[in-house]
């Protein structure tokens, strides 16, 4: 189960890296049509949620310490919040569908929350590897601060 935990958390980290790449792809696609963020949407709405659930599940099954399980669960909440931020940012347009300062401020939180989430996932992936292959004595256990609730 520890191997599965390592695998799931590593895949989750990879999918997060891809998610940033897909955001850049969307941002630089010309002309900026409806489909520019298709990869970002699919990865964010399907792949990442599944991998966050698997990571949390394997953390629990691997009998990881409570704090690590908590950290593995945290991305689930952050991913839900991330989708909500995107929804609210899209909703905060003027009557003709153009973006507003409020909407762009909320959109900024989407990036901020993304940074927090990837920070947490890096910590989970590192801790999962430590758990799988305990370091010979004397090594300081990895400490990762818990992400601020978004």
């Amino acid at each position: 189960m520890r191997k599965a935990f390592v695998l799931a958390s590593t895949l989750l980290l990879v999918s997060f890296v891809l998610q940033f790449i897909f955001a850049a792809v969307g941002g630089f696609t010309r002309p900026a049509g409806d489909g520019a963020y298709a990869l970002h949407s699919v990865n964010g709405m399907a792949v990442i949620p599944v991998l966050t659930l698997l990571t949390a599940l394997f953390a629990a099954l691997a009998k990881a310490p409570g704090r690590l399980i908590g950290m593995a669960i945290l991305p689930i909440g952050l991913v839900v919040v991330q989708a909500l931020i995107a929804m609210l940012a899209n909703a905060s347009t003027d009557a003709a569908g153009a973006s507003t300062p409020l909407g762009l401020t909320i959109a900024g939180l989407h990036a901020l929350n993304g940074i927090i989430a990837v920070h947490v996932v890096v910590g989970v992936a590192q801790a999962a590897r430590k758990l799988d292959r305990p370091a010979p004595g004397g090594v300081v256990p990895v400490t990762v601060r818990e992400g601020e609730p978004a």
């Binding site: 704090r67 909500l84 899209n90 909703a91």
Partner: protein
Amino acid sequence: MSTGSVLAVDLVIAVLAAAGWLGGGAASAARRRPLALGLAAFALVATLARAVTITALARAGWWFAGEKVLIAAPLALAAVVVAGPRLLRAPGDIRSVALPLFFAGYAQSGALLVTLLHGYPVSAGVGLLALAGVIAATAVSWRALGAGPSRAVSRAALVVAVTALVTGTGLAVAPGAAPAVPHNHKYRDARTSDEPTRRFVLTAGTATVSVSGRDVAAWAFNGQVPGPELTGTAGDVVEVTLRNRDIARGVTLHWHGYDVPNSQDGVPGVTQAAVLPGQEFVYRFRADQVGTYWYHTHSVSDLGVRMGLYGVLVVRPAPVTGVDVTVPVHTLAGLALPEPRTEPVEPGVPVRLRLINTDSTTHRYALAGTPFRVVAIDGSDLRGPTSLVDTAVLVPAGGRYDLVFTAPPTPVALFVDGRAVYSTGPVSTATSAWPVLDPLTYGVGSPVPWSRVDREYTLVLDRGLDLRGLLPRYAHTVNGAADPDIPPQVVRLGDIVAFTIVNRSQVVHPWHLHGHHVLVLSRNGQRATGSPLWLDSFDVRPGDVWEVEFRADNPGVWANHCHNLAHADAGMMLHLMYS
């Protein structure tokens, strides 16, 4: 503050409350006392603040608040009752409040998920599922925190959770009245048999079209985007032969806003089969409605219209006098159509601009340099339109506005979302700050032409989890269901039918009923006092409640859907049928 804003604020507060409780729980489990107490206090304030937003929503209408009052409020109350006293006592070992805080967090999160996944109609099944989830998560946390519950408590929790889970699942998946959408139902074929006076042939096919100097892959009628402009004079019998050269997913022609007989309405699977490559279909109808309309494919309509399968249909009462310009706005592969056009117009010449929005989202039109009147909306003439100046109009997806003015000696320009699309000369005017016309108070009112209502339907628009298909999807829903599982609305010929359309979601839904024009009675409780508005496309904004009525005078099975075609594809489509 609009109801739409209150909906958004309520959602944000709910997320903050859930995050605060869970964060407080985690902090206390890690024995970080000040952080835990701070987060818990914050969560408590947020939870109590929701009382204000939920009350405001309940005042705006039960549709907006039902699940929040019946599911979220009891869960929030349980959260406060369980977590509050423990916090006040603030025991020496802060870790002992972790479980109550986690419980409060799960209760808040559960209520939030109910709102997001299946908020309307509020149901006991969904409430019980939320309860089961909260109990299960709390039990797991109890174990994880070390000191598990006593055997009796453990058993009781298990029994309650399993009972809630089983009952909730049973209630949630219990088959409702299986809505049989009648396909290919044969109504009297009211296609006119008169000899056509206007004949057109439209051939759909893939094409490469040039937009602003770029080559764009498109789907086109007769190789052009938009398709040919079909025009006629009142009384014409129009015959259009539709051929499909190579659109593999099929095409049809829907006459948007034109109340043709049902067999000519062009909805695949309902009024006809989609026209596949190599096939053809002949549409024939009498052009007895004058005004500005458009046509588009209704087969894979989101993709098909976006790719370019649309065009203009204009029926005039008499031959054109003056200048008559159609402005069908569209976004093709991210490029704006039509391309800007400038033509000088002699002063004193009457000009009519027919604004058509063929996109899936609202566009803002601003006519600078002249006073003007809005003489028709969705093809229907307005009563007593007054002169407007420096005023913008918002045209919903699928909607049409006709503007008229007399050409002044100075240039005039029409801007769409700030981009000049038609002008008689150079104009540089900032139009972004102009006020927007509210058609509900424009023109001269007249009494409603009927005094009774035979059928009343409420359509609550939202998002929700749809598990009935092969793959789960986050659908756009009507009354908690998604196409094809939305029960059809049944009316009798001659009925006066009332729709109340409520938008619980965070996005605009441009509503479009086929085969009929609806009369707008009120929006958000404000009566429409201006000219009677007979619309076929109108924007129901987040938090809006529209009351509209129509006479059921066109027998058949009619699509009734959101004209943001991506939303229609994602479930927001139902049918109106005659018994």
